[in-house]
Symmetry: C2
Subunit: 432 residues, 2 copies
């Protein structure tokens, strides 16, 4: 019966004369005065094995060892296993393309992505996805706790709602369909149907030709939509609650993983005091920051502006989080609810200088939607499916989407969002 590395210390303390079995990967091998020390890696951590005969395996071999657990202050974790018998379960074939047990900073991103079965063996790289798993769990738990229903909607759509140019085309039984850019239409359908509060965690697609450290062509979108809101401010409050909970869960469950990156997450107080800055004011703040640092004026909430707003919020409010609201109509899709002729009830959440969320209140009135379309150069006949959702009545509502990889990236301070995707897709990469 296998036991995990993390449980060996207890075995050594309680039953040192009882043999135990461990299984895992050979992380490191060191010879010292005729004795071989093998560091074994399993999902729970590292363990020192002490061998009296030189091993016949190389690094990254998967082994099974039986022996006596013993305390040893010099061993990692203060414990080791004196091996009686050892078996190779699976051996690597040929040379490893890179060293697994070192600093992942020395492996390039392409090599990391090319060999996921190898790169994820590095505890620091694996930590990214342990944290991502917590983020997904906490997101779902938070919204379930607020009476949201989890939904799963189709990723194959007859047409796009966010604009037609950035869609991937799918050959579907002799006709063309598209990969969904978001579950926008579907989550709004759920609100109109009286389900009222829904969330979905699913892939979303953008056929953008970007090649930046903040873009993916396929990403995990964590979406919510809810009925009976007044404005985007209700959504911002909800997102604050959600982020505070996610950060709390990550801090609680992923202490080791955060430490590997010397990363911290904001506490609840820091989340709740995040400022809400109207778009025009955000431009002024970003411009003032820019000019104070010798850059030019800012005319748009672009990546540069997002970073300046972070500088400002850290200094003025002691928080990594800023909400920008009241985006102008021209910057938002046709379905965004107007605040007045120029502004909308919309918002972005910026975390550590990166937009992680876009959201807002939506237009729920069928006739108002019909009136809005021509202003956006859209025709009702091309949006039949979308419009039909509102034909039988729909409560005032809104929602937002959080980019899972971006949130992961910013929690850990990763340079590239691709590091936070197991199998990222970009213009060049579709393998593995």
């Amino acid at each position: 019966m296998r036991i995990l590395a993390k449980d060996i210390k207890q075995a050594a303390q309680e039953k040192p004369s009882e043999k135990v079995e461990v299984k895992g990967w050979v992380h490191r091998i060191r010879e010292l005065g005729g004795i071989t020390f093998v560091i074994l890696r399993d999902p729970s951590g590292l363990l020192q094995l002490v061998l009296e005969t030189p091993p016949e395996f190389t690094l990254e071999t998967i082994i099974q060892a039986v022996g006596f657990p013993g305390l040893n202050d010099k061993a990692p974790g203060g414990v080791e296993l004196k091996v009686c018998s050892l078996e190779c379960i699976s051996k690597p074939i040929g040379e490893l393309p890179y060293q697994v047990n070192g600093d992942p900073g020395k492996i390039g991103i392409e090599a990391i992505l090319d060999h996921r079965s190898l790169s994820l063996r590095n505890p620091k790289i694996r930590a990214i996805f342990k944290i991502q798993s917590t983020i997904i769990e906490a997101f779902a738990a938070y919204f379930r706790g607020q009476d949201f229903t989890e939904i799963k909607t189709s990723k194959l759509v007859g047409s796009g709602t966010e604009g037609g140019t950035e869609l991937f085309e799918v050959e579907y039984f002799n006709r063309k369909v598209y990969l969904a850019q978001s579950p926008q239409l579907y989550k709004q359908t759920m609100v109109a149907s009286g389900l009222e509060r829904v969330f979905e965690i699913a892939p979303a697609y953008r056929a953008e030709k970007h090649d930046t450290p903040r873009h993916l062509n396929e990403y995990v979108s964590m979406d919510i939509e809810m009925g009976f809101i007044e404005s985007e401010k209700d959504l911002i409050e909800l997102e604050k609650g959600m982020l505070a909970y996610i950060f709390e869960e990550v801090a609680r469950k992923n202490k080791n993983e955060l430490e590997m990156y010397q990363a911290t997450v904001p506490n609840g107080e820091a989340v709740f005091r995040a400022p809400i800055v109207p778009y025009e004011e955000a431009l002024k703040i970003a411009s003032a920051e820019a000019m104070a640092k010798g850059s030019g004026r800012i005319f748009d909430i672009n990546p540069e502006a997002e970073r300046f707003l972070w500088d400002w919020s850290l200094r003025e409010h002691g928080t990594d989080l800023v909400f920008v609201n009241e985006f102008p109509r021209r910057h938002r899709p046709f379905y965004t609810y107007p605040l007045d002729v120029v502004r909308t009830m919309s918002f972005d959440a910026l975390f550590r200088g990166l937009e992680i969320t876009t959201g807002g209140r939506r237009q729920h009135d069928y006739n108002a939607l019909l009136e809005a379309l021509p202003k956006f150069g859209l025709k009702p006949e091309n949006l039949k499916s979308y419009l039909s959702v509102f034909k039988y009545g729909c409560p005032p509502h809104g929602g937002f989407a959080v980019g899972c990889e971006r949130l992961t990236q910013k929690i850990l301070g990763l340079n590239n969002v691709k590091e936070a995707s197991l199998f990222p897709r970009d213009r060049k990469r579709v393998e593995p």
Copy 2:
């Protein structure tokens, strides 16, 4: 401040002289001796409103009402609201295509799917997705409790691992990629990487030209994979534990929803006593059942055989669940681990006469995989990505996938699996 229908009784008992506000959909209107009774529907249930003036709205209007809560034995739930003021929030435009408040059996499946914002207002139709939400939650919770990590993998793949003919093609920046049929390669990569235990809940695609009540071209696949197993029997035990937990959670959280369908879920004992029948024996059992009922002999575990095996297991073992294992090699993909020359360490789970799971132990040895390929007419150069996962060592492992819609369908006894998909895709349907 809005309160929900389900909380009105408590308000009537505790503070009948305090006004409360409710919001929801007009489910039914009835006039009786100058008084109008409106049944309001909100996410929590139904509530009778008493109006002294005839209303100016029709069925399915979204309203907001303020009034005094009062106990009334004749009202649904024993409580009603005497309305003081009322406001229309959103009105349906034109005639409803069908009646929302009736028996959904009278609405055809196509009409249900064409108008989801309407059909989901029917409490019985909505119940399907309340249960599906519990299934997804319970699946994730069960595997997290067993130290599995949730992963999210790409749905765009360079090639298929399950066979090349049933793939949807995607136009991806001037090259062709495919929609993933399963996360097979990716979840195995995770095992090889030492993450060891992973699960994923995500869409999967099959470009099959089926048009049956059991097939979808896009479905929600609940996948798991784990390292260090001996045989498919370890997986069957795991699946039993999972199913017992899911059923328990559905019974606990969805009592009302099950009642609407007069449905029950098996208890834990019934799940754990499910028989495990080797393929050849299953054929004999199904044939005997078939012949006893005047049908011909069974030569394959086809839908008919699955139903006969259910009859048998109900009668002989008092359970809705049967596992068939040891499928012949010719029926299983190349990566299935052999038990001997003919049989494999594979299994299906049949629930109430329908296959809801396929799984098995996989071949983890690189050289054994290379040897197996020609027997399946496959060439190593076409499976480079797949093979590379095993090159640096991989523990013995296996996994399975549960079809979320099929499990939902069989819990409720739905005729067609499409009823258990919010926006199903088949050969003809890509809208809404």
